[in-house]
Assembly symmetry: C2
Homo-oligomer: 313 residues x 2
Amino acid sequence: MLDRSEFEAARERLAEHLPATPLATSDGVLLKLESLQPTGAFKVRPALNSLLAHLDQAREKGVVTSSSGNFAQAVAWAATRLGVDSQIVMQRAASEFKRGRTRRFGGTVVPCDNTMEARAETTERIVDQTGRLLVHPYDSDETVAGDATVGLELLDQVEGDFAVVVPISGGGLIGGIAAAVKEKRPGCRVIGVQPEANPSMRVSLAEGAQTVVEARPSVADALVVTRPGARGFEVARNYVDEVVLVSDEEMVDAVRRLAIESKIVAEAGGAASVAAVGAGKVRAGGLPVVCIVSGGNVEPAKLAGWLGDERAS
Amino acid sequence: MLDRSEFEAARERLAEHLPATPLATSDGVLLKLESLQPTGAFKVRPALNSLLAHLDQAREKGVVTSSSGNFAQAVAWAATRLGVDSQIVMQRAASEFKRGRTRRFGGTVVPCDNTMEARAETTERIVDQTGRLLVHPYDSDETVAGDATVGLELLDQVEGDFAVVVPISGGGLIGGIAAAVKEKRPGCRVIGVQPEANPSMRVSLAEGAQTVVEARPSVADALVVTRPGARGFEVARNYVDEVVLVSDEEMVDAVRRLAIESKIVAEAGGAASVAAVGAGKVRAGGLPVVCIVSGGNVEPAKLAGWLGDERAS
């Protein structure tokens, strides 16, 4: 289903824009720091790859996407870098923190009503009226190939088989990583992590089909897709060893420990991998463990509150 | 005065213990993330090198040092890793946060009265009575050679000439970096940064001799040495282009921006380099700028307070 030659093409496209993110070590676990990307999350990879794959159209017509979070910032940043005009459709309820960052990276925020339908409608209308390039946050070939570059880097950075632990929202990131890694090193394990409040991929795998779940709110405001994308689901079905769930408390604890012990700022969803390992939920089969720290865009006041709960010891 | 062949020897000694720390990019400035070292600061380099250079004595007799901060944790960590017993002399006034971390890394904290004299006396007594290896935090050949490995890594990681901005306390770190870098690339610039509250190296350079200053307290609790070490001073006199001063406010602002924009936890002293650049105080002469983020051991409650002051925008 996925064309793996596209993964290497994506890597070549991204090479001049994004150096490989570093691996840090903490408590014997390797941390792949996507939080150190220019916009603070791995999403610059799929955003850049989507634009670079259709650069003529993007430059002529501009680009549009809908997202309330990390993909919004990533598209704004990538578009500005490539001389492309970007419009980002965001619900009026999206936090001013996220809207502010999207604007700061050069995107034009187009507000819409607070439903997924309104967001989709507004985006479609813009595409129809302007011919802008539409880029998808987690379920297009370009997106998954951009995400797969995380896996290609890991194959260079870690010797031998490893177990990689990946936060899941729409499934693009784990799909790209699993497809890239298992192809070359079938002995690797790929473990997905979702919030207990939104187990969309876990439920879909159990059902054997993409399934919509009723999600509750959680601290992981980046892990909100309630039905996995087709591509992520297909790869997960074939290549993901298991999907485990973490609680809000476990994620907050991971954010706190990453900041205090590892000197890394992560957002709750971005730290879901570390939370799963910290809670003893990951069966690595004796392999070295790599946690993808997928993003760091936590609101300062929220992080301050979580850190303030810590008693110095 | 410094034997540069020792720098390469230090690098070989450290190679199996510490991978090169990564360079991140933020706002066009390169950040050398010593905060990602195992104890959260560059001090593991001089601690390990001092122990490895005298490993037989250290293993037989143990090691002792006096420090209230990052060097204490580093010696405890390095000693534990090498199977060496460590005693760390700390003033009773040292924060429980730092004592707790030192113990957690395997060090035995030996409390003493709250004066520099008491600390020196206690340490000396232990050396006399036990024959323990005494390691110095900033002014020994082994320390400066350990510190110099930061410079050697930069020569590998950055192509061509660059300007490197380095926080100064006793002068070991800037001494090692300047000696390593200027030897190989005399076109590089080396800029030191001190708190306005403790301009010991700046005053010493102006006086032409190691000078004791009356320091005031500052947020940079890692930059407290009031008279530069002989080695650091000698190198600085020959190789450091200038030393600039930063205010508490500028350092706190840098800590805040590093956490929010760059997803990096730094302590105030460790962010002094970023503060100097942010305040427009660094003359880089058109060269790419590398800020050494020398440490990340900020107390959680303090960081929470600083982040809480930030208005989301």
